[in-house]
């Protein structure tokens, strides 16, 4: 068996990416109470969560732990696949991991000791960055997996985001699938004809992208004509009617004060002191 040529591997990546977007949308069609909440409630709680998490001092570790309750409850309550989301978090880590990795090298002040081992401030703050990263990324992913992109956009519009921007988001999302399909077809057609030559040279690359762009511009024209024919008025229909009622108020009233509480009091330390108090 010879390894697959570069073209085939790249194709696999494209299909994987498409599949990923599609899968997130499939998850959003679930029917749990969390799915049914008005998107505004979920947007507000998620933002409050992220602000609370990143507002901690850079050496914070233990006080961040209770915040895991929010993404975990969202995942469990929404019936989302935990392993899949975890894999997604791990795949997208690079920048934070990279920049954070300098902390242990640059901040060598010993903060505390466990047994004989001195833990430097850099390691603590690096670990803190990783925890924040895990928390904020899972929160964003659960938001989209519980709500779906079109509904998030609807929520944004109701939260007074300018209409042209919301329409732009909806259009973009609609055509990502179409155009990535088209790009994938181009790449596939080429890789079927070049056999083992894996890399793509600059000139053919420019011509491929250029043609894709020309096709895109023609498509935009056709879409515009079709819109005119149907009397588009800047409103995208959504299947799920939204309503800001009691469940939404309850959702916000449950979570936001909890975030404040967890931000102000270090619950794990209190719990730990209480427990170690028994053995002292």
């Amino acid at each position: 068996m010879t390894p697959p040529p570069g073209g085939a591997r790249r194709m696999f990546k494209i299909d994987q990416n498409l599949f990923d977007i599609g899968r997130m949308d499939t998850l959003a069609t679930g029917g749990t109470p969390l799915h049914r909440l008005d998107p505004r409630a979920k947007l507000i709680t998620t933002l409050a969560f992220i602000v609370a998490v990143v507002s901690f001092d850079k050496y914070t570790l233990s006080a961040l732990i209770p915040f895991f309750v929010f993404p975990l409850v969202m995942i469990a309550g929404g019936g989302l696949p935990f392993a899949y989301l975890l894999r997604k978090v791990l795949v997208v880590a690079p920048f934070a991991l990279f920049v954070g990795a300098f902390n242990p090298l640059l901040d060598r002040e010993i903060l505390f000791r466990l047994g004989g081992l001195g833990i430097s401030g850099g390691w603590v703050s690096y670990l803190s960055i990783l925890i924040r990263f895990g928390l904020t990324v899972t929160a964003a992913l659960t938001l989209i997996a519980l709500t779906g992109f079109n509904t998030v956009c609807l929520g944004l519009e109701k939260l007074a985001v300018p209409r042209p921007f919301v329409i732009q988001l909806l259009f973009l999302y609609r055509y990502i699938f179409v155009l990535t399909d088209e790009a994938a077809r181009l790449v596939r057609a080429r890789s079927l004809r070049v056999f083992e030559a894996s890399g793509l040279g600059f000139k053919p690359f420019v011509s491929m992208v250029g043609h894709l762009l020309l096709r895109t511009l023609d498509r935009a024209q056709r879409v515009h004509l079709a819109m005119r024919c149907r009397g588009f008025e800047g409103q995208m229909p959504v299947l799920r009617p939204t309503h800001f009622g009691l469940p939404e108020v309850r959702h916000i009233a449950l979570w936001v004060p909890l975030f404040v509480l967890m931000r102000v009091y270090n619950l794990p330390i209190k719990l730990g002191l209480w427990i170690t108090g028994f053995f002292a």
Partner: protein
């Protein structure tokens, strides 16, 4: 070069969100005023094109790495600054939500770095100046190349400044700048070449698309308005967020104090020295600092030396125990809900 939530403080994230929101509102109004409803689908479809085109890679000779088309500059050339900014913002929003590139709080920073600089600075000041009135293959090529490089350099510098003011990362300003700018110069040259080549390709096939964007009428005088608007936004958010920064010493002020102090810069030079010293110190004092011995002197000494006064071995043990227990508790709650959800299905 996406910023991540984990690296920024709320003050920086909030300020950049406010600036970006202002720019989005401003650009939306401009796009609406143009009353060119052909642009509505064009923006959406071109945004999707940027996504799709990033899946086609070419091999950079001799390096083994690959390059692809960057977004901001080609959009600015084809759509003009306002529509391009909205399109770039929408692309980054989708990336933040689906691929968790960056994050929600860092979204403002990312839109600003990758949208504002190419669309409102590099495009009007470089591309338009070079191409305006006298289009031709050479000028369009040079204009797109230079504008793409400058746009990316400014964006990379934005990342450095935002990271610095957030104060989460320990990287000193000088090191970070020296790391980011050359890397992004290389990336910018590749991206600029690709942009220039693709724009040249389109210009040969459909010249009216490129020349329309480069015409003197498009986007004239937009920069001054934008800068004035930005100034207002900056003053407003500065005022609104200052209560936050002062209530929290770990916010903006703290970061500024920290980075302006010279000790942060001096430390890396004697890194080996410092670490050797630390090892020595550690081995010498080990028995005194053990967990079990809670002798009053050692305790006092740790607290005096510690840069973070709240930490003592006792509380860090408590933090560890409590942290693990809380994590277990959170997991149990999640597990219980999952069981219930499965039951009711």
């Amino acid at each position: 070069m996406h910023m991540a939530d984990a690296l920024i403080s709320p003050a920086v994230g909030g300020t950049m969100w406010a600036a970006t929101a202002g720019l989005i509102a401003y650009s939306s109004r401009k796009v609406k005023q143009e009353l060119d409803d052909r642009k509505v689908p064009l923006m959406g479809v071109l945004g999707a094109f940027i996504f799709a085109a990033q899946m086609i890679n070419f091999t950079i000779p001799g390096t083994g790495s690959s390059g692809h088309l960057g977004g901001g500059m080609i959009l600015a050339i084809l759509l003009g600054p306002h529509a391009a900014f909205l399109t770039m913002a929408s692309i980054l929003t989708v990336q933040a939500l689906f691929f968790a590139d960056g994050g929600l709080l860092a979204l403002g920073c990312n839109i600003f770095n990758l949208g504002f600089f190419p669309c409102f600075v590099a495009y009007p000041l470089i591309f338009k100046r070079l191409v305006e009135g006298r289009d031709g293959q050479g000028r369009i090529f040079a204009g797109s190349l230079a504008a793409a490089i400058v746009g990316l350099q400014l964006g990379a510098f934005g990342v450095v400044l935002e990271t610095l003011f957030s104060g989460v990362s320990e990287l000193p300003f000088g090191t970070f700048v020296l790391m980011m700018q050359p890397i992004h110069l290389a990336i910018g040259i590749v991206e600029g070449l690709v942009t220039a080549a693709v724009v040249g390709f389109v210009w040969k096939a459909r010249p009216e698309l490129v020349t329309a964007a480069a015409s003197p009428a498009a986007g004239r005088g937009s920069l001054r308005t934008v800068l004035v608007a930005l100034g207002i936004v900056a003053v407003l958010t500065g005022g609104a967020l200052s209560w936050f920064a002062s209530a929290n010493p770990d916010g903006l002020e703290w970061a500024m104090f920290k980075t302006s102090g010279s000790e942060a810069l001096a430390r890396p030079e004697k890194g080996v020295h410092a670490s050797l010293e630390k090892i020595q110190e550690k081995t010498a004092f080990m028995p005194d600092y053990g967990l079990k011995t809670e002798g009053g002197d050692a305790q006092a000494e740790t607290e005096a030396h510690s840069p973070w006064p709240a930490v003592s071995p006792g509380t860090s043990l408590a933090g560890l125990v409590g942290g693990i227990l809380t994590l277990l508790l959170a997991g149990l709650i999640g597990f219980g809900l999952k069981r219930r959800a499965n039951h009711t299905k």
